[in-house]
Amino acid sequence: MSFAMFVQHFFNALTLGSLYALIAIGYTMVYGILRLINFAHGEIFMLGAYFVFWGVTLLHLPWIVAVILSVIVTSFAGILVDRAAYRPLRDAPRISALISSIGVSFFLQNLAIVVFSAIPREVQRPDWLVTIIQFGKIRILPLTIVVPILSFILMLGLLYIVYRTKPGLGMRAISKDIETSRLMGVPVNRVIAITFGLGSALAAASGIMWALRYPQLQPIMGVIPGFKAFIAAVFGGIGSIQGAVVGGLILGFMEIMIVAFMPSLAGYRDAFAFVLLIIILLIRPTGLFGEKLEDKV
């Protein structure tokens, strides 16, 4: 493989990895706080992409306005999902909330089929993002530089919120011990809602950038990226934001590079992540950065 090719693959992998990382953060935050695998997160990602598409094509909004609106609307959708489907089950066995999230996931998928129709939609992309720029032999899309940078900024913003603000303090407290936090006066439900809002906003951002990178929208587009991002979160150590970022990047690089170096395996691309998942769960179930959890008797 030539150097030029490698650089191109590198940027592709960086893009894919940072998109996974953005989704994975949502999984890891919700799991850290509620010990719930939010299956509906992939559908939130899909909604974010569709809302921008709607804003741009139906309402003729400028791109930037559509993006901001979509992120806001999607984060409210995330909060709504929590309020309607998870909050009533806070005291139920954990698996109930998990089944509920699977139900929400299928509900949103099929609602999208009803509302947006199952026909794949093509996304009109702003030209400057997709005009190839050339450095010597290296040809890359501006998009593959913009996406990682934007993702990085969003992640820094999130880390600021989690480690420097009061709701962030609440999140960290709840993830240690929800009951004690409640007794200490943390407004648990509000903090959880904020968590869902933030996670959904990041998923929406990721969905929008995903739609720019792979310009086809369909109601089931969130399923596979959702699973993979979840795997990234497990890989990094579920509950840890830094872990989710590292896990997402590693997963993105692994996928692109395996296909780049062994093109014959391209058909098995979707299986890599799951194989990685099973291996990780066996060797180090707590992931790279995860804390050790023990069975409480």
């Binding site: 010990r35 695998i37 489907a85 009533p88 089950l89 139920a92 954990r94 698996i95 109930s96 998990l98 089944i99 509920s100 699977i102 139900g103 929400v104 299928f106 509900f107 998928q109 099929n110 609602l111 089929i113 009803v114 129709s117 199952a118 109601p219 399923v223 699973f227 979840f230 795997i231 497990v234 058909g267 098995y268 979707d270 299986a271 799951f274 194989v275 998942l277 099973i278 769960l281 066996l282 179930p285 069975d295 008797v297």
Partner: protein, 348 residues
Amino acid sequence: MDAKRKRNYTLNAVLVGVLGLFLFWANGHLDGYKIQIMNLIAVNIILALSLNLIYGFTGLFSLGHAGFMAIGAYTCSLLIMTPVQKEMLFILDPCMWPFSVMQAPFVVAVIAGGLMAALFGVIIGLPVLRLGGDYLGIATLGFAEIIRVFANNLQPVTNGALGFKGIPDFSNLWWNYGWCLVTLFVIVRLVNSNFGNVLKSIRDDEVAARAMGVNTFKYKLTSFTIGSFFAGVGGALLASLLTTIDPKMFLFILTFNVLMIVVAGGLGSITGTVLGGIVITVLLEWLRFVENPLTLGNFEIPGVPGMRMVVFSLSLLFIILYKREGIMGMREFSWDWLFGLFRKRGEA
């Protein structure tokens, strides 16, 4: 005590006889669509019973049913199709050698499908059953996805994305309900045996079970393997019933449907699973009308594709939010209970 037992056996035999008569009647008098629904009910009950054994009775949250069904379906189909048929079917790559000439009667093929699924159950169970709770769910879900990706790519064995068409339709009411009864019998006997008590103790408190000296891993693996055997059998019957299979059929939604039956019926209740299987299958078929255009007087409401699954997933959400124990909770139907009911009424 023994008289009671004798009575129960007799009543069970009578019930099976009535079912047989009903099937005989249905075969002659119902149209193809209704018979197909009845077949689906039987297959769904098999699948849901196997998941209930794994999840409802042993507490192993497994989301890998679609994978086991796929294994059963592909194994069975490869065995019941004739070599000529296989040669015509595999247009991109010829069928791999041992599979291209193998052929077996339907019973053998279904059992082979179940055994193959059970084999994979052991292979996947050995590593992943060490995990607990939702991690196990995700790992088994991953396994099902891996199976599907392989079905999509392993051209010489599975015919890739094209799948199989024209699988002989040996599967009929007799086979399906026969297997359904076998599954029911095996699982009822298992659950009510000492083995079943151990499974329930693992579900209720695994640490305590281990502390009592139970080799929990061995029991979990056995339960998981038996469950995957019947999931494979269900998949095999389904393949012959539908006569076409392809990798797209074994998406996560298939597991979701089975899970829905178990949850709706009541986790850990066999009666509930049977009732859930009937209710959910009929509901799923009935909901097709939601997607058809509807004429009310002079108004015509156009059919909305996708509406069926919207309603279906909403009903799952409703059950899990408002009636978490499902139809039966953990109760079971029994003859003693039925007669007890009459006695109470008689005394009062």
